[in-house]
Subunit: 149 residues, 4 copies
């Protein structure tokens, strides 16, 4: 069976609860799960007055929080609920100023090793084809949770 | 007169207001200005329940927000209140898990050009000598605000 | 006409000459053009004793040179022969140790603006499906060569 | 005894031989060791026709190779000759176009853990005060060579 056909190891509802409950600073963003596969994810962060910054656009820190939690979801989609997986690096390029609208995140895994996972995330203004930001995120995995390198 | 001796082009109080008011998602963090020079900055982000994540440590997105706003301050310390300066990239390495305590940010400018500013920021658990994270942040400057390249 | 159907603005032969002649430190790598589209590129770097490092794998600096020149090609595929486009940042994650074999690079453009281009590049050991490295590269474009932002 | 007072665990001559012999693609650059401390390093890469690129400046890949080998030296200055330490990520910002002259690299360690080392490197045109590039480099350490986290 191909990877694409396998079921994610955490449900949409369970990962939505992770986002809502585990880290309040991220939970307040109200991010929703659009799609969750075995190593793929699509999230949407609604716009709100709280996320605006001068210029009438979405603040960078909210976009970074979205990219980071998307990678958390990619990891859990393959390994199940590994709360103690932690970000070890995040590198983001802001490509275009997003409209004051919802932002979607599409993620893919580039590597899932024994100790480390790496993925990249494209952020878009909802409904627009062009990327507003692109992030590469690495997570350190708790012992005995990752796959063989 | 050396750069070190020059006065910052925004006051501590004025930059504290920028942090509090311009971006609510960052303003809620209650970040305070410890020191502001002409191209140097020191901020402190108090700990709070809201910033915790599993493992009893400070969430990465809060650390990234702190690094990003520290760079905003570095830019304003040289150019004055340029609200429309925007982050174009941020790259952070998380080096150690911080205690659930206040985080300090020390920033320095690596380049201040006509169109682009680059700086790096070291984050520490308050009172500890070792870095918990290191970020490199670039900002795009509004026309006619930056210096000659 | 879709972007995918448009022809690249530099030919494979012309870009192969750019790689061979403009930067001798990269030219010596003998990189070949496999495929060149309008905003897409595929290169191959042959293995050689010169590129090995301890552990019997391909040295990181050679992989970085390959990613960097692939982005140069992406830019020229859209804008023609803009020799004065220069790298402004490169961020690479090494994901797996490559075999001492040829390395392929597949690139895509994430943004082509008036002043800045951003792309990402996946490196693989030739014939293997999994990435050995992933790079994000930004180039600064000479005035009047980029597109409208 | 303070860290600053401790002697490096590899000599200048031994690390010069590492640079010259272990990776021919880097060895050809003729990089010299100016200073080597316990967790600090200063290297100089002489200019040569081979390193030039259009615009009469030093090619980015040569600067990246210099930053990468400087981090290798930082690791060996603390752990001795650990040839199998490998780069896991490198992120570089090119800040100013260097003159066609020698480039110096000054490195410092930000973290030396059990499995991972992180440092940053500032590149300058020799004799100039301002940075031409700034890199952050992470290395993975072979088992039982790194320090306790």
């Amino acid at each position: 069976m191909s990877v694409a056909a396998r079921k994610p190891r955490i449900s949409k509802a369970a990962f939505a609860a992770v986002m809502r409950d585990l880290v309040p600073y991220v939970g307040q963003l109200g991010i929703r799960v659009q799609r969750l596969g075995f190593g793929t994810i699509s999230l949407v962060m609604p716009a709100s007055r709280q996320l605006l910054r001068p210029g009438g656009t979405i603040a960078g820190p909210a976009q970074m929080a979205l990219a980071d939690i998307a990678m958390y979801g990619l990891v859990m989609s393959r390994l199940g609920r590994v709360e103690l997986a932690v970000t070890t690096s995040l590198s983001i390029n802001f490509l275009r100023r997003p409209a004051p609208a919802a932002i979607t995140a599409e993620g893919r895994l580039l590597k899932l090793g024994r100790r480390l996972a790496v993925g990249d995330i494209i952020l878009r203004s909802r409904g627009q084809p062009e990327a507003v930001a692109h992030a590469v995120v690495t997570y350190s995995l708790p012992p005995a949770k990752g796959l063989a390198d």
